[in-house]
Symmetry: C2
């Protein structure tokens, strides 16, 4: 070991790395392959990356940790600099949750939701690529057409296409392949346009490999993949993980800043996206005993920024007025040129966006929920850091996006966390004693509270009059109601119930953040209704997309004024519609064409134009709303 | 210097290299950047790479060199193994001639020939790529289309195209470019199909760089380039050099064998072709003060094997019955994917071939001479190692190829050499004294005899009765007529007139090789006439293409029976029609389309089918021919 090199060991993983003295523990963890949570991008303010130094010494890292935590060796990994060999324990709440757990839970409601979907069944199975057996006559001195001409003539005959393109890489192998297959081959075809085919691969004889496709949802926080058998439509593998871009910032804006202001930042973000996806693909292929070359088509859906980063396109102007993306319709590239783990010639299709803040993920959702095909007027809502929503039917569609902040994703609230094991998802508050009962994801000791738990919490503490309609903490008589260092707070779980280090509290400032988040979403919905000149009950169906919806209690969401007060039977929880839409476009070319049509048809409503949105927003900063007439069932 | 490393210095260049002990001098020369002639591909049989060791020691390399040459230190570079530091002198006849000299001479007749060309003037100037100034409205919160959508909509408006493709690389730079140009840009467009455009480059503001194109002739022996200003059609630079593939074998067949049987051989040959072209392009750009990115389109013409090697496509089946190329119509690739020194998005178009031995160079020739457009029946002949010929008019065309052997390129004859300084190009033989007068390229001391010189020689020694009609050396009384180690021979120049080492002689075996070569060409012509059912004088025009034609004496060529006995005014010497055709296709898209039509329209006559060709060949092994009725002017 050279001078100044330190060995850092992470427990309970047992993973190790060597770094220069003075390296911070967050970087050391990344090098060791340990993913630590970090919301602020290493700025020392979010406190998510708190770890305990068990052996050895670090410099700094105290941040705003309480003195007893410091005494127990806790430090902020992003601020603690390695001094010699150290051993560090990563507490569960600082760990990035295991993807399998997350997915397993996510999928439950999706399966139920499937039955509500109309779009998918309506499309024919016409995958983006298909395989064709081709038999050729062997050449002679008289019939001496070139290998390529012989093959393309036969493909034209069999398909009726008038043009067949062959990439140079395929042509280079063609002479061997034709002869190895004794003039019988399997050809993988992509239809570029009606009558114009691209020949992605030629294999000798009758191929026995499955013809696979990959659907990818590139979320800001999580990335999910589906490996499909394109010939049967069956799902061969499904998995998800956290987007490795998170180390460059938790939200879209901080990643755009990293891509724009850090030298090589765009490349780092693109590489992180590819690593994330390739990691999932590698696992899926391993499990199924398949090879990268078996994947012959890829469809990716993501928000506009994620799609830009995925393709390495500068996203800088997305966050600057007038908010112009480089592209809304993205070029189809090959897996080879992108560096995606798939057949090098596999087309990689990115679903088109509508605007800087209404991306391909939303187009995918509209596609798969059938909003754009139905005569009934529907509302599609995807709530994350941004709330994106689409209102419309087969005649018209209008979309908008509002910044909800990261509350519903478990950030921006002091004890917030993602919907991982230990996250509080249900809260009961006794109206008399103000005693609190919590239930957590996985039934584990409470470590924090997730987005859907916060909605429940807000509803319950409002009902118990711990907060008033404006979200102010009331002077109730309870040991849980206290004045903390950062103002009034209410204890949900004592340290002794949880990790023993800190009480889990909701602060008045947290409540204000939550009100702003729910207010923005509701104001967005109201703006769409106004733009379409529809009454509040003019919406016949509401699709709630995304992980947030999976644990959401609808009654609570209406009670706090996050969602419109409509009969529960009009609501659908549709799960990961971004991934489902990508899958649908992969399995059905008419669906992909519809996705493009949807993107073109959607009118984007820019909420920052005019005063309408701000008025709606201000009115929505109360529980449930200034205008109680909008919430008749709550009024009761 | 490590143990076993030897320094090898080449004179008169003064170039040096270090090699392992035991390395042969041919390899050492290649490493030092000294190009030695080698026809046999290092087999020790052609004797072309003879060099003199001036200092130090080598092992082996004597080959079949005469004893006095060995005493003077001469060795075959390909067989002489380095033993310690050595200094080697490269005699002029072993050097590859300087390209400028060659080109200067080649161009002379081409300029004259230009006036005979009909094709070029008939085509409109519509270069493969063009530049378009585009002004855009800046985006606003209301008019918030993406950068790409804004640009492509305007390009569609300006051009009437219905589809505009944008490569990912261009899209990545687009946001910066649009803003740097303050919403005015210059766009380089390639029309993929009517109404379908590809956007190769976007530059801020009004570009002031010239829009350049590159025409390339990839010959087996020489490679030539033209750098063109596509907007004016002017030639900015013209140059040529030897194909660096020659170190892997002098002819097409030996290169196919190298590509097929040597591990990595195809890659070496492709790299050598690219190096050769990039070398020329680099010089051209330097001279003109231009950059690779200024070249926005490339058209290459070459024989079928050269085109395969250029694109890295396995050529193995070209030489095996039934002689099937991998492709006759080649995919358009980008300069970037190929590694060609040009704008990475520049399309690289290879002119289409007809068959394994009738390539894009011949299609280029037919295009530029207007054979396929004219009502008059014409014969197009390109004589090299292979003789390729096309007979036809605007109604029909039939093509064939015959193996002429390398005689006319200065090989396959003991004192043969390329048409470089010192090559005998004219021979006079006094019918009485049998004294010989020679004139050489550049007026230098005679070093060997080039292809056109051999035609002249054959004609003159036949007229002087030194050989009979069957090519047998007659027992004439002259000190020049003698029996050498390899049979009867006739001295053309004494060693004292030349390099002082060896007499320049023509052997009976050389004459037999020449008769086979000229017989094959003439038999090919006869076979075409027969296939078209035309009488010998049914050909109204004859185009002689290629460097060989530049020094050819037409009367001699008819006298020996190489070319048909037709009035001289029907003959045209058209120069490098392969390069001219590539230039035409680059400057005129309709011409490129015609090239494809020509390739499709041409009927390929496989001479090895049936006994017709062999009969014609046997009859043509006499001077001028068995049937003197075919040569009325010679008979006189």
């Amino acid at each position: 070991m050279g001078a100044g090199r330190c060995r850092v060991t992470f427990l309970p993983h047992g993973l190790e790395t060597e770094v220069e003295e003075g390296t911070d523990l967050l970087q050391a963890a990344a090098r060791a392959g340990v993913e630590l949570r970090s919301v602020c991008g290493g700025e020392g303010v979010c406190g998510r990356c708190t770890v305990a130094v068990r052996r050895g010494r670090v410099a700094g890292g105290e941040g705003n940790l309480p003195p007893e935590a410091r005494r127990q060796g806790y430090v902020l990994a992003c601020r603690a600099l390695v001094q010699g060999d150290v051993e560090v324990e990563v507490p569960p709440e600082a760990r990035v949750a295991e993807p399998e757990v997350l997915l397993d839970r996510l999928s439950r409601r999706e399966v139920l939701a499937e039955s509500h979907l109309e779009g998918e069944e309506a499309y024919p199975r016409e995958p983006l690529v298909r395989r064709l057996p081709v038999e050729l006559e062997p050449p002679t001195l008289i019939e001496n057409a070139s290998d390529l001409a012989r093959l393309t003539a036969q493909v034209r005959r069999l398909t009726g296409a008038h043009e067949v393109e062959v990439p140079l890489g395929v042509l280079r192998r063609l002479p061997h392949t034709l002869r190895a297959g004794e003039w019988t081959v399997s050809v993988t075809l992509q239809e570029l346009q009606p009558g114009r085919l691209k020949l992605l691969e030629v294999e000798p004889g009758a191929s026995r490999r499955p013809l696979c496709g990959l659907a990818v949802d590139i979320g800001t926080t999580t990335v999910s993949t589906l490996l499909l058998d394109l010939e049967t439509g069956y799902t061969l593998d499904r998995r998800g993980t956290y987007n490795r871009q998170h180390r460059f910032g938790a939200d879209v804006i901080s990643r755009i800043i990293h891509a724009t202001e850090v030298e090589g930042g765009l490349g780092q973000l693109q590489a992180a996206a590819l690593e994330t996806i390739n990691g999932l693909v590698g696992q899926a292929l391993d499990r199924r005993g398949l090879e990268p070359g078996d994947i012959r088509a890829v469809v990716a859906a993501g928000n506009t920024t994620m799609t830009h980063l995925f393709l390495g396109i500068p996203p800088g102007w997305i966050r600057l007025e007038p908010y112009i993306p480089a592209a809304s319709t993205l070029p189809v590239v090959t897996a080879g040129e992108l560096g995606l783990m798939a057949h090098p010639q596999a087309p990689v299709v990115s679903l088109p966006a509508v605007a800087s803040y209404v991306g391909g993920d939303i187009v995918a959702g509209v596609l798969v929920t059938g909003v754009g095909l139905s005569p009934r007027t529907s509302l599609f809502i995807d709530i994350g850091t941004n709330g994106e929503m689409v209102l419309g039917n087969r005649e018209w569609m209008v979309a908008c996006a509002c910044s909800a902040g990261p509350c519903f994703e478990g950030s921006g609230v002091s004890c917030g966390m993602q919907a991982a094991p230990g996250a509080i998802q249900r809260v009961e508050v006794d109206p008399e004693s103000l005693e609190v009962t919590v239930s957590t994801v996985g039934g584990e000791k409470p470590l924090g509270i997730c987005g859907s738990g916060l909605v429940d919490l807000l509803s319950k503490i409002h009902r118990a009059r711990v907060i008033d309609r404006a979200g102010r903490l009331q002077p109730v008589r309870s040991p849980r109601r206290r004045d903390g260092e950062e103002g009034p707070e209410f204890v949900l779980a004592w340290a002794s119930q949880g990790n023993g280090r800190r009480d889990i509290v909701i602060r008045e400032s947290d409540v204000q953040n939550l009100l702003r988040a729910k207010g923005a979403v509701f104001a967005g919905i109201r703006s769409l209704l106004k733009a379409a000149d529809l009454p509040p009950d003019g919406v016949e169906r509401i699709f709630i997309a995304g992980g947030f919806g999976n644990y959401l209690n609808l009654r609570d969401a209406i009670n706090i004024g996050l969602l419109p007060d409509l009969p529960p039977e009009r609501y659908r929880f549709s799960g990961n519609t971004s991934l489902k839409g990508a899958r649908l476009a992969l399995l059905s070319r008419p669906a992909l064409e519809d996705a493009h049509q949807i993107a073109r048809r959607m009118t984007y409503l820019e909420l920052s134009v005019g005063a309408g949105f701000m008025e709606e927003f201000t009115s929505a900063l109360f529980i449930p709303h200034t205008d109680l007439g909008l919430f008749p069932s709550v009024k009761e």
